[in-house]
């Protein structure tokens, strides 16, 4: 009896000992910065003159909501997110279907197609600027040479094209994510379902609609929610490619927050933007939890 007691109490000790580093690290490097970010949203803070920092109530939020650029950023972020996700999903599912074949050399293709996911954003932004350079870029050259376009396309110089370019970059980089997820799920679809559908007389398209898609539903929802949250808040993809330009036509909230904090030296406003982003994120997370019934599972 005593031994059992000792074992239990020592077990408990082990459990707490093992979780302790996480708790400490999380509090110091995750909770504290976020709490601090929320606090800063209610302060004026010029990083050059921290001594002048003062409580300003909701002034930062007032500033935010009366700034047309904030609303533009919000809208542009929405457009960029929706279109990115749309293309990522369609292409992702398509490529996954292509890859989901037991054909010779498939592993090779699979490896190459998933590659963009690991390419640093800095690298791809630089390469993008190089190949999409209107005057000396290879893309314009090829399009001109093949007669698809008559005049060079200014990929980053008009608001529409710049938006399209950032979306392209995002789609290029993150479609592999969708591919990996979908592929993993496809591999668990019972083959008998396809056989059953064939025997039932379903053609290729019906099989896709009635067997594949329903099986992918869950994973697609999860992927879409995740990717929406992340895409909405992406900073580097936009900042490194267009710096939010031309004009402010590719600003999203993350770029807006960065510019307010850095260029405008209004850390408070930047933080307030962050708070708005966090609120939207919470909504997204709740959607995610609802869909996956994550909570019930844990209980």
């Amino acid at each position: 009896m005593r031994r059992l007691h000792a074992l239990l109490s020592s077990d408990r000790a082990v459990g707490l000992l093992f979780i302790a580093p996480f708790v400490v690290t999380a509090i110091v490097f995750m909770v504290y910065p976020v709490v601090e970010a929320i606090r800063m949203a209610f302060y004026s803070y010029n990083p050059l003159r921290p001594d002048l920092s003062a409580f300003v109530g909701i002034a930062n939020f007032e500033f935010l909501f009366s700034d047309p650029l904030f609303w533009d950023s919000l809208w542009q972020a929405t457009v960029w997110t929706l279109l990115s996700i749309l293309f990522q999903t369609i292409l992702g599912v398509g490529i996954a279907m292509l890859l989901h074949r037991a054909l010779f050399g498939m592993a090779f293709f699979r490896g190459l197609l998933l590659f963009p996911y690991i390419v640093p954003t800095v690298v791809i932004a630089l390469i993008w600027r190089w190949i999409f350079n209107p005057e000396i870029g290879v893309v314009n050259y090829s399009l001109l040479a093949s007669g698809i376009i008559r005049e060079p396309v200014y990929w980053l110089s008009t608001p529409t094209m710049a938006m399209a370019s950032t979306i392209m970059l995002n789609v290029w980089k993150y479609t592999p994510f969708v591919v990996i997820c979908v592929l993993a799920r496809l591999q668990t679809v019972p083959l008998e379902l396809y056989d059953a559908a064939k025997v039932d007389g379903a053609g290729f398209i019906r099989r896709f609609i009635d067997v594949t898609l329903p099986q992918l539903r869950e994973v697609l929802i999860v992927v879409i929610v995740f990717r929406t949250i992340w895409t909405f808040n992406k900073f580097e993809e936009i900042y490194l490619l267009t710096k939010g330009g031309p004009g402010t036509s590719t600003f999203n909230l993350a770029v807006y927050s960065f510019e307010q904090s850095m260029a405008s030296l209004r850390l408070g406003v930047g933080a307030a933007t962050g708070v708005v982003m966090m609120i939207m994120l919470l909504i997204g997370s709740i959607v995610y939890l609802r869909i996956t019934k994550f909570g019930e599972e844990v209980r």
Partner: protein, 463 residues
């Protein structure tokens, strides 16, 4: 940067060797622990971080200081960090907020003046005396570089005006007038003619992106039209919502069709690119375009000459944006103040180094001292043969038309300009017109509101 007093010389040496550019492996550890130095008894050791703008002259300045260090502080190594213009504000913010400013900064006047007014810089009147108060070239004052409430905060590095660069081969081919005689209409006309007659070439190019370069390019037009952002003599009241602003915006709008299509995202680099690669026949730029053309595109170099800007038809002004760039010393968290002061004096009083400095990127960086400007050795550069008028315009003739956002129309320092550029207010105003098709009147109002917000937020600087 922390300086620790230690007793061995070894670490210092290793450090120097490494910075000599040799090798890297294993040294990660020193970075890992943030320790920077080691030292001797009387002298400090370590790296003295110096900020400069992109280009070789910062490196030359620092080379001079290293020569001083070799004699007087063998444990020190001056190291230049070139800060691209578009990154200055991020760098400034993080370095100062991190309490790790460089020990010496060579920076454009708007930022120098902002820092000066914020109280972040060290007064350097003692250095002015050592360097020589009466050495300045004619037509400039110490104030232009940075004087606040009677104290000098900035030591001249150089002055650099942006001018109108023109491909004379094209002008001659199309039979255009001498650019020296142009007013705005002639410029516009020339741009139009070139665009129409020369296939695949833009008539004119300036920066239109949301960046510093656009701010500077537009400011020159604004000032030529007689407009400005703030009035230093009247509590820095905002003057931007004015007919002059509208006129300058309209002029940009008129020029726009004759600029390269991508100009709306151009910054410094792309304007130079456009000129050097022959995509444009004219452009606004500082002297470095010629420096690069000389290296990469001889024909362009040979055909290009610089002129003072076309004059405004009514005001007759032909203002450039002249950066009175200077060296300044961060006052806080700076472990090398004394050393930097001495090294700076050494560099500023060395004729040889100052000439090397100017020569390193002709004719971008103009000499600020008479003894240098008039030195025969300065003329010992090929550009003086092939481009003497252009060099002379950059170095001297432009001075009569100097202006900048930090010292608008030379009517007094403006510490708010740094904030204006940090937020790219002028560039955004321009972009509202050329990208969003906003009416210039409304754009001017928008700009004025932003400028007013900056004035209010930073009233402390003006008091």
């Amino acid at each position: 940067m922390r300086v620790k007093d230690q007793h061995t010389n070894k670490a210092g040496l290793g450090r120097r060797e490494f910075l000599g550019g040799t090798a890297a492996l294993g040294l990660g550890a020193s970075g890992l622990f943030g320790s920077k130095s080691a030292l001797a008894q009387s002298t400090k050791t370590g790296t003295v971080r110096v900020w400069g703008e992109p280009g070789p002259y910062g490196g030359v300045g620092v080379a001079a200081m290293n020569e001083w260090a070799q004699k007087n502080a063998p444990g020190l190594k001056f190291e230049i960090e070139t800060i691209p213009w578009d990154n200055v504000y991020v760098k400034l913010m993080t370095d100062l907020a991190a309490k790790r400013p460089p020990s010496l900064i060579s920076v454009e006047s708007p930022i120098a003046m902002q820092m000066m007014a914020e109280g972040l810089l060290l007064p350097v009147d003692d250095l002015v005396e050592k360097i020589g108060r009466n050495r300045l070239v004619d037509g400039v004052k110490w104030d232009y570089w940075g004087n606040w409430k009677g104290k000098q905060y900035v030591i001249p590095a150089h002055h650099q005006p942006h001018l109108l660069l023109v491909r004379m081969d094209i002008v001659k081919e199309l039979g255009l007038k001498d650019p020296d005689t142009w007013d705005w209409n002639d410029l516009l006309n020339a741009a139009k003619t070139i665009s129409e007659k020369k296939q695949g070439m833009a008539g004119f190019c300036m920066a239109l992106g949301r960046n510093l370069c656009t701010d500077y390019h537009f400011a020159a037009l604004l000032h030529s039209a007689g407009g400005r952002m703030y009035d230093p003599s009247n509590k820095y009241e905002v003057m931007f919502d004015s007919p002059q602003t509208v006129e300058a915006l309209n002029f940009v709008k008129e020029l726009r069709p004759y600029m390269p299509k991508g100009a709306v995202e151009y910054s410094f680099l792309q304007v130079v690119d456009a000129h050097v690669t022959g995509q444009t026949a004219m452009s606004f730029y500082w002297g470095r375009t010629l420096g690069r053309a000389a290296e990469e595109a001889k024909p362009v170099f040979e055909a290009t000459e610089a002129f003072n800007h076309a004059k405004h038809p009514k005001t007759g002004r032909r203002n450039n944006w002249n950066d009175f760039q200077g060296w300044c010393i961060p006052a806080q968290n700076n472990p090398f103040i004394e050393e930097v002061k001495q090294a700076l004096v050494y560099q500023q009083t060395s004729k040889e180094w100052l000439i090397k400095y100017c020569h390193s990127l002709m004719p971008n960086v103009a000499p600020t001292y008479k003894d240098i400007a008039d030195a025969p050795e300065l003329k010992n550069h090929p550009f003086y043969q092939s481009k003497s008028k252009t060099v002379d315009t950059y170095f001297k003739a432009s001075l009569a038309h100097s202006s900048s956002t930090a010292n608008e129309l030379l009517q007094g320092p403006n510490p708010l300009a740094g904030y204006v550029h940090g937020r790219s207010i002028l560039a955004q105003t321009v972009q509202k017109v050329v990208i969003d098709n906003m009416k210039p009147e409304d754009a001017a109002k928008w700009g004025a509101r932003e400028l007013e917000a900056i004035r209010k937020e930073n009233a402390r600087l003006l008091g």
